[in-house]
């Protein structure tokens, strides 16, 4: 009676009904039916590679602050009338507009979106307000270790590549004028090459029709947004960033990643899970559950259009910074030198397959995945192919991927912490260079 029930095999992935159409203006519309609740989720991905950073970030904050016929509160109130909201965010690859509303409000939400896309005015007083807010946020971020170590890591990984700097300096934001936002909008916020994803409780054809009708006035060619491929990681001394008095050290390790389409991607994903990709991983067992050096380490593959990387992160107590690095390198080395156990591979495989199922079980999850994949020229059917590869990967495949990509010899390491307290500990293990 009290015995553990036998685990059956994971079920095959089932994908929902979808439709796709590229409109005359170059906008690709993907519509997916998921009738769980009477809502609709919307994602609009506009390529934004190589856009000037401070302007692009402020544009994402002020896109909804007014048109020639609507004030910022008119826009907010109009969306609220259909229970909705729209937001914009920016990264080095794209501008992403996300929102949701009652499904009966889809037409109204699209109408407001179209108004903003074709007629955003970036009013001077609203831009001034949002600029102040953004500068405040950036200044707060500059006091936070997670942000500071991220800045140092990107610089170390990417050198002169556009990905090397992903947040502007507060001073750069202060200098942005509304006219520059209008010019950037005219230049880059264009349907050509953009993807609109609509997921909700309505037939896909009806969603596409609504989008085509609302957005046919949005026109124009986009400027080339292609980001050059990222350079390979160059190994070298550990970079130590001083944060005097820090009670914890932020440890970051970058390793080569693989794009989603790569034949070894599934095997690398499994190797990463066994290493540090979820709670039941070797790294967590070691430095949290066994040694108590940290609250929670995590590693994951980060995808960008121009390249992928595997990044391992842990906040560790200052006095055990050296020992934590030692254990981390040990766990990476163990994976690169010895095959994983059959049972831990099965566990990681079931977790990966289950996460796929959970990830697309909601409207919001489906919309986010579909928009993300579209940025890489992929569609949801990629999930089925990926699931098959996860199911088929053998211990040898995972070992081969780990040997190649998780080898500590290939790691780029950055530590932010109280240098006076941690430099000696780290220098006992590897060459250290102050940032």
């Amino acid at each position: 009676m009290r015995e553990l029930p036998a685990l059956g095999p994971n079920r095959k992935l089932k994908l929902p009904k979808q439709a796709e159409q590229t409109l005359d203006n170059g906008l690709t519309v993907i519509a997916i039916r998921r009738s769980a609740v009477p809502l609709v989720e919307l994602r609009l991905r506009v390529p934004f590679g190589r856009a000037p950073l401070a302007r692009a970030m402020l544009l994402s904050q002020t896109l909804f602050s007014g048109t020639s016929t609507m004030s910022t509160t008119d826009i907010a109130a109009g969306l609220q009338t259909v229970g909705g909201a729209l937001d914009a965010g920016h990264d080095p690859d794209r501008l992403l507009i996300s929102g949701n509303a009652l499904v009966t409000g889809l037409d109204r939400m699209l109408e407001i979106l179209a108004g903003v896309l074709t007629d955003a005015t970036y009013p001077t007083d609203e831009v001034a307000t949002e600029r102040e807010v953004l500068v405040d946020h950036l200044q707060v971020a500059q006091q936070q270790p997670a942000h500071l170590v991220r800045v140092a890591l990107l610089k170390r990984m990417y050198g002169r590549h556009p990905y090397a700097v992903q947040t502007p300096e507060p001073g750069q934001v202060k200098g942005v004028r509304p006219g520059q936002l209008r010019a950037l909008h005219a230049d880059r916020v264009r349907p050509d090459g953009a993807t609109l994803v609509i997921v909700g409780d309505l037939p896909p054809e009806r969603a596409i029709e609504a989008a085509a009708k609302a957005l046919d006035g949005w026109t124009g060619l986009a400027r080339d947004a292609v980001v050059p491929p990222v350079p390979p990681l160059e190994t070298g001394p550990l970079v130590l960033v001083d944060r005097p008095g820090s009670v914890q050290s932020s440890l970051r390790i970058a390793l080569p990643g693989l794009p989603r389409q790569h034949p070894d991607h599934a095997a690398l994903q499994l190797a990463n899970l066994v290493f540090g990709g979820y709670f039941s991983s070797r790294w967590t067992e070691n430095i949290r559950e066994d040694k108590g050096y940290t609250y929670g380490p995590h590693s994951g593959i980060e995808h960008s259009v121009a390249g992928s990387a595997l990044i391992a992160s842990a906040e560790v107590a200052t006095e055990v910074t050296g020992p934590a690095l030692l254990e981390t390198r040990y766990e990476l080395g163990r994976l690169a030198s010895l095959p994983v156990e059959a049972e831990e591979l099965e566990q990681a495989r079931r977790y990966a397959l289950g996460s796929l199922q959970l990830g697309i079980s909601t409207q919001a999850g489906l919309a986010t995945h579909a928009a993300e994949y579209a940025g890489y020229g992929l569609r949801l059917d990629y999930l089925a192919e990926h699931a098959a590869k996860l199911a088929a990967a053998t211990r040898e495949d995972v070992f081969t991927a780990a040997q190649q990509y998780l080898a500590p010899a290939r790691a780029v390491t950055v530590v932010l912490g109280d240098a006076a307290a941690v430099e000696g500990q780290l220098a006992a293990l590897t060459e250290v260079q102050r940032a």
């Binding site: 009676m1 009290r2 015995e3 553990l4 029930p5 685990l7 059956g8 095999p9 994971n10 079920r11 089932k14 998921r34 009738s35 769980a36 609740v37 009477p38 809502l39 910022t72 509160t73 907010a76 109130a77 969306l79 609220q80 009338t81 259909v82 229970g83 909705g84 909201a85 949701n100 509303a101 009652l102 499904v103 009966t104 409000g105 307000t129 102040e132 807010v133 405040d136 707060v140 979820y278 709670f279 039941s280 067992e285 559950e289 609250y295 099965e346 566990q347 079931r350 977790y351 990966a352 397959l353 289950g354 996460s355 199922q357 959970l358 697309i360 079980s361 909601t362 409207q363 919001a364």
Partner: protein
């Protein structure tokens, strides 16, 4: 607005219920849309049950539930759930403790087995070492979430101002460091024995399964656990109306700008009075279409646009609070912001809400309701709540209708009744005087 067929109920999925001989209530809501299933347990025990000197115990106990049980070793619970592709968590609040796993539906049985093992077999696995380890984890959680974050302890400070000493909501769920340090193993063993019983829990399963399967598995794994007689009720939380004298506290600390929290006791969650308070809070402080935003962030420009709002905290066993908050813009005196907040609250009586304001608030609440139910996890937790707090999971279907039935006159009346100066709690954070640096 949603189509009429949808608007008539806030829960348009099937609900089936059963009760095992040992008193465990089982709720099943089948939905075959996606191959996932959520298992959720509501235990009718929260921090309101804690006697003086034992604050934080219900929550610390929740942590211990992940540290192994009679057939499950330390860390194995997490491994088994994640290793079958699931995700899991648990939360404790003043009213109750909930535990939940969302799994690929083929692994439903594993989740039920794990929950049954820790409902029936936790005490033998509980050790001093585990308690000491999780006590440190919880103390770190307290530092990380409440002490080390600007304004992080606002909730901890509001509760004793809102509820009198001895009231079950007077203290916060996280508890005090002193009480956590004093926690001993025997107390936790007794805590489990007292409250973690099948007749004090609701098991809800939502998703890709059917009632017959779940009832069968529930009987198989939970059926042999004995019921416990004489589970003591929490202290009575009844309070007549709001405060009769205003309460005020000012905190000087490491915060980037002055911030004000205003709060009033309203009505218990689940009553028509609290439905009106919910709509009132939404009109007042939800998003950029709200009165607070339009008048103080946009109009007078004395509040920071990202940190202004109003919301209710859905507590069911005593009048629940509505909290209003705003942060000063650079160069604005905190007194001016407090006066501005007072004017906006008064305006709800003097300038009754318009139909447009009311429609927006209801549309926002409708979206938030459906978003809450868009996952099997959200649905399971909702059904568990209504089964536990109102004796019938089907009453979940009434909430959305309750909000939509609130009229403009109801909102005006609620504002007049609830937002009186004498019943107001005012908590103000002021930044420490720091030296000017270039």
């Amino acid at each position: 607005m949603p189509s009429p067929s949808v608007a008539t109920t806030g829960y348009p999925w099937p609900i089936e219920t059963a009760r095992l001989d040992n008193g465990l209530r089982v709720v099943v809501s089948s939905d075959r849309t996606a191959p996932v299933v959520c298992v959720n347990l509501w235990y009718d025990v929260g921090s309101r049950h804690e006697p003086a000197g034992q604050t934080g115990f219900a929550h610390l106990f929740e942590h211990l539930m992940f540290e192994g049980s009679v057939h499950v070793a330390k860390t194995e619970h997490m491994k088994l759930v994640q290793g079958s592709g699931g995700s899991l968590n648990a939360t404790t609040n003043p009213d109750r403790t909930n535990y939940f796993e969302t799994m690929p539906s083929e692994h439903l049985e594993l989740a039920l087995w794990l929950e049954a093992d820790r409902m029936g077999g936790l005490v033998p696995a509980l050790t001093q070492e585990t308690l000491d380890n999780q006590r440190e984890v919880v103390k770190n959680e307290r530092r990380q979430r409440y002490e080390n974050v600007p304004y992080g302890d606002a909730w901890l400070r509001l509760l004793p101002l809102l509820y009198p000493p001895g009231h079950p909501y007077h203290h916060a769920t996280i508890g005090s460091m002193e009480d956590l340090n004093a926690a001993d193993l025997a107390t936790f063993q007794a805590f489990h024995t007292l409250y973690y019983a099948p007749n004090n829990a609701v098991l809800t399963v939502v998703g890709d399964t059917d009632a017959e399967t779940v009832f069968g598995l529930a009987q198989k794994y939970f059926g042999s656990l004995p019921a416990k007689p004489d589970i003591p009720p929490a202290p009575d939380g009844t309070l007549a109306g709001g405060l009769t004298e205003p309460a005020r506290e000012t905190v000087v600390g490491a915060v980037p700008a002055a911030r004000i929290y205003l709060s009033h006791r309203t009505h218990p969650f689940g009553t028509p009075g609290y439905d009106a308070a919910t709509v009132l809070a939404t009109v007042l402080g939800s998003g950029r279409g709200s009165r607070l935003y339009q008048r103080l962030a946009d109009g007078k420009r004395i509040a920071q646009p990202d940190y202004i709002g109003a919301y209710g905290v859905d507590l069911a066993h005593a009048p629940a609070p509505v909290i209003v908050t705003a942060t000063v813009k650079d160069g604005v005196a905190v007194e001016d912001l407090e006066a501005g907040l007072g004017e906006v609250l008064d305006s709800l009586v003097d300038e009754p809400v318009t139909e447009a304001e009311l429609d927006r608030a209801k549309a926002l609440l409708t979206t938030s309701w459906w978003r809450g139910l868009s996952t099997v996890g959200g649905r399971a937790d909702t059904l568990g709540r209504y089964a536990t707090q109102f004796g019938d999971p089907a009453r979940a279907g009434e909430r959305l209708g309750g909000w939509l039935a609130v009229t403009a006159a109801d909102v005006t009346q609620a504002a007049a009744e609830l937002f009186t100066p004498e019943s107001r709690v005012t908590l103000t954070y002021l930044p420490e005087q720091t030296e000017e640096t270039a």
